[in-house]
């Protein structure tokens, strides 16, 4: 937690200029017509210039674009944490912990597969709350157990220690990865209560949507896979769409699960088209696409209703993430030969 009084006005003022630099719809339309090298050149003339130039000697093609996007994202989000104090810092940091979780998972996977530290480091997105020194120390260890010890003074120590016992029994990383993801989601709503109005209410609603959508994705994936996994193990508390027993029951009946989401007052209308397609579709991808779009819609509301609250900052975070995902999707899509329509329909969310 950062010391000092909360400063949402200052952070929002700084964020506004950053938001203005985000790619507009017409930029995406231009990018969709370019090849990977054209996209890299285009990025060189924008916000991404520094990262493209910095990484240009080490990477090329779409890898250059992807690493430049990740590095740029990390730089912007680190700035947000630098600018903010007090409650604003706390609200931003708790959302950016997803990058800590990403980094910890990447490091643990690297240790698990004996990947050299330099290669692991390349894949990190240093945008979270964890200190640089902690990440550097993590990169030096050779055993997962030692990595957990390095995290001794962080919130991840306890869940990882518990999951480590299961990991030792099974030999697969699933318990460790799930413990990290669960830790992120379950602390999203810490100390926020259930405000009924004002910017906090909107902020909480957004985070609840994030948790609900994650629960919905996991439930649908479990229902589809027909695996004997215990749904309760993947249930995240804090959402409004399911409670634990409901989710465990619904996972066994795919159609009922889809009905339950469709009948939800909060999300039913937003997701009705995607849910209609989902009943007969073989793939969950379109539904996940619809969830991403719905979440983005939420984030737009966050910025427009309370423009100087932390919600507006969160909205910027989501918009920036979306920009990175869109550019990466276009570049990768072009690399593998997808045509403009396919990229626009299946990949880009505007």
């Amino acid at each position: 937690m950062s010391a000092g009084a909360s400063n949402p006005e200052y952070v929002n003022a700084r964020v506004r200029s950053r938001r203005a630099a985000l790619f507009a719809d017409e930029d995406y339309r231009k990018l969709v017509r370019m090849g990977p090298s054209g996209i890299a050149r285009f990025m060189e003339e924008t916000e991404y210039e520094r990262e493209i130039n910095q990484l240009g000697t080490r990477f090329s093609g779409v890898d250059l674009i992807e690493y430049a996007l990740n590095q740029n994202l990390a730089r912007h989000f680190e700035d947000l944490l630098d600018w903010s104090n007090g409650r604003v810092y706390d609200r931003i940091a708790r959302y950016l912990r997803k990058f800590d979780v990403w980094n910890l998972k990447t490091i643990i996977r690297g240790i698990y597969t004996d990947t050299p530290a330099e290669e692991i480091e390349t894949d990190l997105i240093r945008a979270g709350e964890l200190e640089e020194a902690t990440i550097d120390r993590l990169l030096e260890v050779d055993e997962i157990e030692d990595a957990i010890e390095v995290l001794g003074r962080t919130m991840y120590y306890e869940p990882l220690s518990e999951a480590y016992e299961v990991y030792e029994e099974t030999g697969v990383l699933v318990p460790l990865e799930n413990a990290l993801d669960r830790e992120f989601y379950e602390h999203l709503l810490d100390d926020l209560g259930r405000p009924s109005e004002g910017p906090d209410a909107l902020y909480v609603e957004f985070l609840q949507a994030e948790i609900d959508f994650r629960n919905a994705r996991n439930a649908l994936r479990l229902a589809r896979s027909g695996s004997g996994l215990d749904p309760a193990e993947y249930y995240i508390e804090g959402g409004v769409l399911f409670d634990e027993s409901e989710l465990s029951r619904l996972v066994t009946d795919y159609d009922e699960l889809v009905d339950h989401i469709a009948e939800s007052g909060r999300y039913g209308d937003r997701l009705s088209t995607a849910l209609g397609r989902l009943r007969n579709a073989e793939s969950l991808i379109q539904f996940e696409h619809a969830l991403d779009a719905a979440l983005l819609e939420y984030s737009d509301r966050l910025s427009s209703i309370y423009p100087v609250s932390v919600s507006a900052v969160l909205s910027y975070i989501l918009a920036k993430e979306r920009e990175v995902e869109n550019i990466r999707a276009i570049a990768r899509g072009r690399e593998v030969g997808l045509d403009e329509t396919e990229i626009e329909e299946e990949l880009v969310i505007l």
């Binding site: 979780v101 990383l173 990865e177 799930n178 539904f287 997808l338």
Partner: protein, 240 residues
């Protein structure tokens, strides 16, 4: 070759035995070849189906992984792939199709459920699940294709070998044996004719000799008869 054989009755019998064996072998090999071809045609159909499925599975897997790389990023996909160290287990046994030993490949732990893929479920998406599933299907198809195509190649090799043996018997060994048989038979016949001729000649000679002997005897007898009427020359000379 035929001329190298000594034209004896014993060799003729040996050649006749070899001909009988070769003809029987030729018939059996022809049947084996036809049977192998029929089995091969079945395997070929299966191989074509498997190849088609393999090609479809490959396209599907590539599409799925491309989509996952596009939406989740290459780093996330690589990360998810790195979360599993365990490799599928592949064991090979063998089975016999008309004397051809072909492999039977058994695989385990190729298709996995969500909990066995190594990556955490909460932090990943259906795109990664579908890419992983598509690659598991592809691996299953590759294993099946490896089994069927290896069997097909082995069958093809066996058909070629059998065909060569049939052809060798039909166009090389048997004609040579027939030629040898004919040569020996002809030679024996020739020898027989020569023998008959020789015997005939001997007989003729003998008869000639006998005839000459008989004639000589006759002449002697005639002389003897003539000598009874006139004194012998010796006695006349002795009288002088």
């Amino acid at each position: 070759m035929a001329k190298d054989v000594k034209p004896t009755r014993k060799n003729l019998m040996a050649i006749e035995d070899r001909i009988e064996l070769s003809e029987r072998g030729h018939g059996t090999l022809e049947k084996k070849r036809d049977g192998l071809i029929m089995e091969f045609m079945d395997i070929l159909d299966k191989a074509q189906d498997v190849r088609g499925e393999l090609s479809e599975d490959y396209d599907e897997a590539q599409k799925k992984i491309n989509m996952a790389r596009a939406m989740e990023g290459d780093v996330a996909v690589r990360g998810a792939a790195a979360a599993l160290q365990e490799h599928p287990e592949i064991t090979t046994e063998s089975k016999n199709i008309m004397g051809v030993v072909v492999p039977q490949i058994e695989s385990s732990r190729v298709s996995k459920d969500l909990g066995q893929r190594g990556y955490g479920i909460m932090g990943t998406s259906a795109r990664i699940d579908e890419a992983a599933e598509a690659y598991e299907d592809l691996l299953e198809s590759i294993i099946l294709a490896a089994e069927v195509e290896t069997a097909m190649k082995k069958m093809l090799r066996e058909i070629e070998t059998t065909k060569r043996r049939v052809n060798a018997l039909e166009f090389k060994l048997l004609p040579e044996l027939y030629e040898g048989q004919e040569y020996i038979e002809q030679s024996l016949e020739e020898q027989e004719r020569e023998e008959t001729f020789r015997l005939k000649k001997i007989k003729e000679k003998k008869e000639q000799e006998e005839k000459e002997e008989a004639e000589a005897e006759e002449a002697e007898e005639a002389e003897d008869l003539e000598g009874g009427q006139a004194p012998p020359v010796g006695s006349a000379a002795g009288g002088n």
